[in-house]
């Protein structure tokens, strides 16, 4: 065996009731290298990581760390051994200070047992934060930080635990490209210090840019490991999906029709003087950095947030939208940014979620017609290729891609003419992404007006007929889809 491996997971298997989540999986991680793990949602990446950090015990297989077999009984054990994980959804203590967050569970004490040495804690925390090149005062409360900064603090926390291995689960899913660049600089520094990093992401370009080695998993099985130079994007995609994939963006030839929605001088808490229009059959992309105010603009149009001033016109007629109910009545549909927090009722079934926004159409007076509702839900399930054993399945247990399709099925059940999609493909696998792109093209072909917010530039460029670039709450540029490039968009997005 190559002694350079810091960690070897061999023949790991793990079953949950009724399912084999991991089947004989291996992962070999070298010291001071970034090892990317790729695979569709449900491929078993998270389960494997949870085994590595002691959240689950494997049914079979061995984890060998520094040539010693190990078996963590808890996350605490794994932390002590130098394994840290930065979760996709960060779990900070928002009301506590940065320093308290960094040393949570690991506070420096004074001579009196249990008594925290605040001075040492704050000093050490500041030192760690400074080392990472962050300009954060560690006495600030965690909730005052941006998501990117919180992530950096998590890294500082990992360092305070003397981490030898840091697992990062989709660290860039909620941060801007500029913040990603800062993160990558930091990762390169960590490599220099000999720290191994397991990096999970769906973003191909990112992985090809930062990783040294790539392992691919599919359906709970280990597929392959390649050094980064030895494989290209197309090769990786076919390993991940198990099939060749043609270009995922299709070209459309659509002559835009009449103006479906136009807004003028919209001003709200986080944006001002927003004017634009979108025509039937057109896909309007809204690009910009995270936090630029894009979501706030569409939320205000949809009646979720307050509008200070400005006018909205649907099909040429001025309308007043005070609530989502009004917006839906005027034929506007919004697929919200975060399916878990605003898209779905996770505790409810597929059927109940699908019909939630259009329940009236399944009703006779105040009473729901059960047969009719079931029929409608099943029809939507087929139309959107939602993979679930039954419409009575609770949505909490479905994959991200299927959940997103349920949100689409719900919003589109009202048959809106103006469809707003806010980050419609975030955190879903490439197969489901392709399906959503096809759906959007199909809707545009039917004469729907579509507005899409996205932080993924290839998606914006591949899908949009026109692109608005938003920066700091204002529209900085309007680009024609054909002439726009990643460079142009970023130039406006960051100025």
């Amino acid at each position: 065996m190559n002694p350079a491996y810091l960690l070897r997971a061999e023949n790991i298997s793990k079953s949950f009731p009724g399912v084999k989540a991991l089947d004989n999986v291996q992962l070999h991680v070298e010291k001071g290298k970034v090892h990317a793990v790729m695979g569709e949602n449900g491929a078993g990446k998270s389960t494997l990581m949870k085994i590595l950090i002691g959240m689950y015990a494997p049914d079979a297989g061995q984890i060998i760390y520094k040539e010693q077999p190990i078996a963590f009984k808890s996350v605490h054990d794994a932390l002590k051994a130098g394994f840290s994980m930065i979760h996709q959804e960060l779990l900070p203590f928002p009301e506590l200070s940065v320093a308290e967050n960094i040393f949570m569970g690991n506070e420096p004490t004074t001579i009196i047992p249990g008594w925290i040495n605040r001075k040492k804690r704050n000093g050490d925390a500041q030192l760690l934060v400074d080392q990472l090149g962050l300009q954060i005062n560690v006495t600030r409360r965690m909730k005052t930080l941006s998501i990117a900064e919180m992530q950096m603090v998590e890294i500082a926390k990992a360092l305070s635990n003397k981490a030898a291995l840091i697992i990062m689960d989709e660290p860039t899913s909620a941060i801007s490209d500029r913040e990603t660049a800062v993160l990558f600089d930091m990762i390169r520094d960590l490599k220099q210090q000999g720290i191994a990093i397991i990096y999970i992401s769906h973003k191909m370009d990112e992985i090809l840019g930062i990783a040294d080695t790539i392992s691919v998993m599919r359906d709970g099985k280990y597929i392959a490991t390649h050094p980064v130079g030895a494989i290209n994007k197309e090769g990786l995609i076919s390993l991940i999906v198990g099939r060749e994939l043609n270009t995922i963006f299709e070209k459309r030839n659509i002559i835009p029709g009449a103006v479906a929605l136009s807004v003028k001088d919209l001003t709200g808490a986080k944006f001002r003087d927003i004017s634009f229009s979108v025509r039937r059959g057109e896909i309007l992309g809204i690009a910009g950095l995270m936090g630029a105010g894009r979501t706030e603009i569409v939320n205000a149009i949809f009646g979720l947030d307050r509008l200070y001033k400005g006018t909205i016109a649907v099909k040429g007629k001025p309308v007043t939208i005070r609530s989502p109910k009004d917006a839906i009545r005027y034929g506007i549909g919004l697929i919200t940014e975060d399916r878990k927090s605003t898209g779905l009722v996770l505790s409810a079934t597929v059927k109940h979620n699908i019909t939630l926004a259009a329940l009236k159409s399944c009703c006779n007076g105040p009473f729901i017609e059960m047969q009719k509702e079931r029929g409608i839900a099943e029809q939507q399930m087929q139309r959107f290729a939602i993979k679930t054993p039954s419409v009575n399945q609770v949505v909490n247990f479905l994959s991200g891609g299927n959940q997103q399709k349920i949100v689409l099925a719900k919003v589109l059940l009202n048959d809106p003419d103006i469809i707003i999609l806010d980050e419609p493909t975030r955190g879903i696998d490439i197969g489901a992404k392709t399906e959503i792109y096809r759906l959007m093209n199909g809707l545009a072909a039917k004469g729907k007006a579509i507005i899409m917010i996205s932080s993924e530039l290839p998606e914006i460029l591949g899908m949009s007929d026109r692109i608005l670039v938003v920066h700091n709450g204002m529209i900085k540029a309007e680009l024609n889809g054909a002439e726009a490039t990643q460079e142009k968009i970023m130039q406006y997005a960051m100025m």
């Binding site: 949950f16 009731p17 009724g18 399912v19 084999k20 989540a21 449900g42 359906d219 709970g220 999906v241 198990g242 099939r243 949809f302 979720l304 609530s323 989502p324 109910k325 917006a327 839906i328 919004l334 919200t336 927090s341 605003t342 898209g343 779905l344 009722v345 996770l346 505790s347 409810a348 109940h352 939630l356 926004a357 329940l359 009236k360 009703c363 105040p366 009473f367 729901i368 139309r383 959107f384 290729a385 993979k387 679930t388 054993p389 009575n392 399945q393 609770v394 247990f397 479905l398 994959s399 719900k410 048959d415 490439i430 197969g431 489901a432 392709t434 399906e435 096809r438 759906l439 199909g442």
Partner: protein, 330 residues
């Protein structure tokens, strides 16, 4: 409606993804509480031959009907993601208000009944409006209302029990209809109407949605505040009905009645598997919860267990039921 079909290019049938979906409706988790209830009944039948007689069953049902109506009311609020601590006080207030219009030879029966329920509904509206428009936590609002309503009951009745009630009024709590005590019939009626509302109407579905995820409900075009308001009005309105039944049964409007009744009602809801976090629960579960508490009180009485021990046993059962639910949910 236009039909656009996704080409399921990635409809690579993945057994794994499907199988990973946990069966959320496993028999044990769904029916565990029913099985537990049956087991308790069987045990008590063995321990006391009197337990499983028609006469005793009617006694139990009549005893639980007041707590049952309160528990069903608070089920609406809890599924909608709230809580109501003012139930016991509302019950006392509505009882004294109804009783003061029920003296013999004054008003027709409909007057005290409607005024009692209306009083409850108004209190519920105040709770609901303060929670939705005032954006104050339900715990705080209803805790405040708990003392306010109690105070109002004492003010209204001058701190004295309201007695001398008409026979018609006393029939509600003390009479039989076709050999079945009227409170039981009212309880059954409330069960049926509530189950229909929650399962078969739009407002019922919206209550689950609001409790499950308020933001998603709002984004789906649901008037969240209206739904919450309905739940609180339903809850207090039913507390009003329970207050009338109690006043009628003890033939007195008692301003000090119903202290801590809200806790028994909430306990029944929790035993019945309704999540205090909202979005999940059922009337059937609450009814079983109510029956479990009632049967245990009754059975322990029959077995001559002192009330001190009864309290301990009841507490153990509340925690045990939730533990069982958690184990099954995992």
């Amino acid at each position: 409606m236009e039909i656009i079909t996704i080409n399921p290019i990635s409809f690579k049938y993945s057994k794994m993804n499907l199988a990973k979906i946990k069966s959320s409706s496993g028999y044990l988790s769904k029916y565990g509480i029913f099985i537990a209830f049956a087991a308790i009944c069987i045990l008590l039948s063995i321990a006391s031959p009197y337990f499983f007689t028609a006469q005793n069953i009617l006694i139990v049902l009549r005893q639980v009907s007041i707590n049952g109506i309160l528990a069903i009311g608070v089920t609406f609020v809890i599924i909608a993601g709230g809580i109501d601590l003012s139930l016991g006080s509302v019950l006392a207030l509505t009882g004294v208000v109804a009783a003061s219009f029920a003296h013999p030879g004054t008003y027709a029966l409909i007057v005290p009944v409607m005024l009692g329920i209306l009083t409850g509904v108004i209190i519920g509206a105040i709770n609901g409006l303060t929670i939705t428009l005032g954006k104050v936590a339900p715990f705080i609002v209803t805790l405040g209302m708990m003392t306010i309503a109690r105070g109002l009951a004492l003010v209204w009745s001058d701190g004295r029990p309201v007695t001398n009630l008409s026979p018609a009024f006393n029939y509600i709590g003390g009479g039989d209809f076709l050999h079945i005590p009227v409170p039981i019939l009212l309880f059954v009626l409330v069960i049926i109407v509530s189950a229909v509302i929650l399962n078969y109407t739009r407002i019922g579905r919206y209550i689950y949605a609001v409790g499950g995820n308020e933001n998603a409900a709002r984004a789906s075009g649901i008037r969240v505040n209206g739904v919450k308001l309905f739940a609180y009005m339903m809850c207090s309105g039913l507390a009003g009905l329970a207050g009338i039944i109690l006043a009628s049964r003890i033939t007195t409007g008692q301003p000090n009645a119903g202290i801590a009744y809200e806790l028994d009602a909430i306990a029944a809801v929790v035993i019945g598997g309704t999540s205090l976090l909202g979005g999940r629960g059922s009337i059937a579960g609450t009814v079983i919860g109510v029956l479990i508490i009632g049967v245990i009180n009754n059975g322990l009485d029959l077995l001559n267990v002192t009330s001190y021990y009864q309290q301990i046993i009841k507490g153990v059962i509340i925690i045990g039921a939730v533990l069982l639910d958690r184990k099954n949910a995992q």
